[in-house]
């Protein structure tokens, strides 16, 4: 049961594209794509001819080999209720922005992430992307917000934290205080 819950947590915390895509082959497809569609059709036929029984009330026995999180090849440091992660990865869906680092909390009651950086074509404008989710391992009910820094002092990074109160420092040395619990600058 715990393993299943862990897996659901992973599903819950990725950006999900619930795709129901085309399964039918198109006319005049390039050979490689046609071959892939043909293979898919063949496997669909195999499955239709000998389908597994349906178990709508079943609890799948999920085996998650690594509950995570792990941070190979990435610097982390404890900071307040969470940790600062030295990553420039973008938050989901962010456009026209560059990111300096990330503060993350995985507490018993909720998960919080705060990405810090700047607007790409307006580098004097700092920006943060805040995500607040339900408790682990599922991290459901995500809310998020992308917020500019209250004043323009360049890209910001998370410098330190006390509990869920974060100190962000801008390129010119200006500091901002951000409440990660509420998702607002103070």
């Amino acid at each position: 049961m715990l393993a299943m819950a862990a897996s659901l947590a992973l599903i819950a915390t990725v950006g999900v594209v619930a795709l129901t895509l085309g399964g039918g082959a198109k006319d005049d497809l390039p050979a490689e794509k046609q071959a892939a569609y043909d293979r898919m059709a063949q496997e669909q036929a195999i499955g239709r001819d000998d389908p597994a029984p349906k178990h709508p009330a079943a609890t799948p026995p999920v085996d998650v080999p690594e509950p995570g999180p792990r941070f190979p090849n990435m610097k982390t440091q404890a900071a307040g209720a969470g940790m600062i992660i030295d990553t420039q990865f973008a938050p989901p869906g962010a456009k026209n922005s560059v990111w300096k680092n990330l503060w993350q909390e995985q507490g018993p009651a909720h998960g919080i992430a705060l990405y810090a950086g700047a607007v790409a074509d307006d580098p004097q404008q700092g920006v943060v992307f805040w995500m607040h989710s339900g408790p682990p391992p599922a991290y459901l009910d995500t809310t998020a917000a992308q917020l500019p820094t209250p004043s323009r002092h360049g890209a910001v990074h998370v410098e330190s934290a006390s509990g869920e109160i974060l100190t962000l420092r801008a390129n010119d040395g200006t500091t901002f205080t951000f409440n990660a619990a509420t998702g607002q600058f103070q």
């Binding site: 992973l10 990725v14 594209v17 619930a18 898919m40 909390e105």
Partner: protein, 262 residues
């Protein structure tokens, strides 16, 4: 399912890469291997199978963003092999009549993201390793909305021909582009790329698989002005753009909308 940025881990002693995977988004940020990701997709597919009637079919696209530094040929190969493994699971367990896995690539010309060459390397490696397709669910940032002769540069110096290759020219690629912009700009950009394929790339049959929007994600963020097309609006914009010219006219079969979490 967008699993975030590509990743890998190395052996502490030898420095050799011992696994590929992805860095998940948000509060669950952390590295997870392709083995774990395969397990997630398999169980999502199994859940769909068990809880649906015998009629509907589902293709799950397991995607990553085109972010360095682990966005390499090795990662593309590992991701393609992962998709093979997932489909083997669906076939072996008799779910394949209703569930199939594809790959996914969020190819974008964003600051700090991978170069075109790195994207091409990944797309070619995936295609060589996988027996299944992948969708390019990225954008065509800054590309022309009115010309298709490849002479007007897109953002960061990218070209229409490059977006054409990543979404259709690569052997296993299918376009499923972001149609976020409420003005219709994204739809016009992709019409021009289809016309480029028709007129210059010798690929008159470039077929857009579907339209991707982010309305649900926007609602979670509190709005994103100008880029919050609904699924139906995005689909309509793209369909109308493509079918306003006989050279790009086609059926647009699908639409999908993003949200954070599930």
């Amino acid at each position: 399912m967008d699993f975030g940025a590509p990743g890998y881990e190395t052996d502490d002693n030898t420095g050799q890469i011992i696994s590929y995977g992805a860095w998940f988004f948000g509060a669950a940020h952390g590295y997870h291997t392709t083995t774990t990701i395969a397990s997630i997709v398999e169980n999502f597919g199994r859940g769909f199978y068990d809880c649906s009637s015998a009629t509907p079919t589902l293709v799950i696209a397991a995607g990553v963003a085109s972010e360095p530094p682990a966005f390499t040929a090795g990662h593309g190969t590992a991701w393609g092999q992962m998709v093979n493994q997932i489909n083997s699971y669906f076939v072996t367990n008799h779910y394949s009549g209703q569930v199939t896995a594809w790959g996914g690539l969020d190819a974008e010309n964003e600051s700090g993201w991978a170069t075109y060459t790195q994207n091409k390397t990944w797309a070619d490696a995936f295609s060589a390793a996988s027996s299944y397709l992948f969708v390019d669910f990225g954008d065509a940032g800054g590309c022309s909305q009115t010309s298709y002769n490849n002479s007007v540069a897109c953002s960061l110096g990218w070209t229409q021909s490059q977006f054409y290759y990543l979404s259709w020219g690569a052997a296993d690629a299918l376009p499923f582009p972001e149609i976020y912009n409420t003005s219709g700009a994204n739809a016009s950009q992709w019409k021009m790329i289809v016309l480029y394929a028709y007129a210059y790339a010798g690929a008159p049959g470039m077929t857009i698989n579907g339209s991707l929007t982010q309305a649900a994600a926007c609602s979670q963020v509190g709005g994103c002005s100008g880029t919050n097309n609904s699924a139906s609006t995005g689909w309509t914009q793209l369909y109308n753009a493509l079918n306003s010219d006989s050279r790009s006219a086609q059926t647009l079969s699908w639409a999908s909308d993003l949200r954070y979490g599930y």
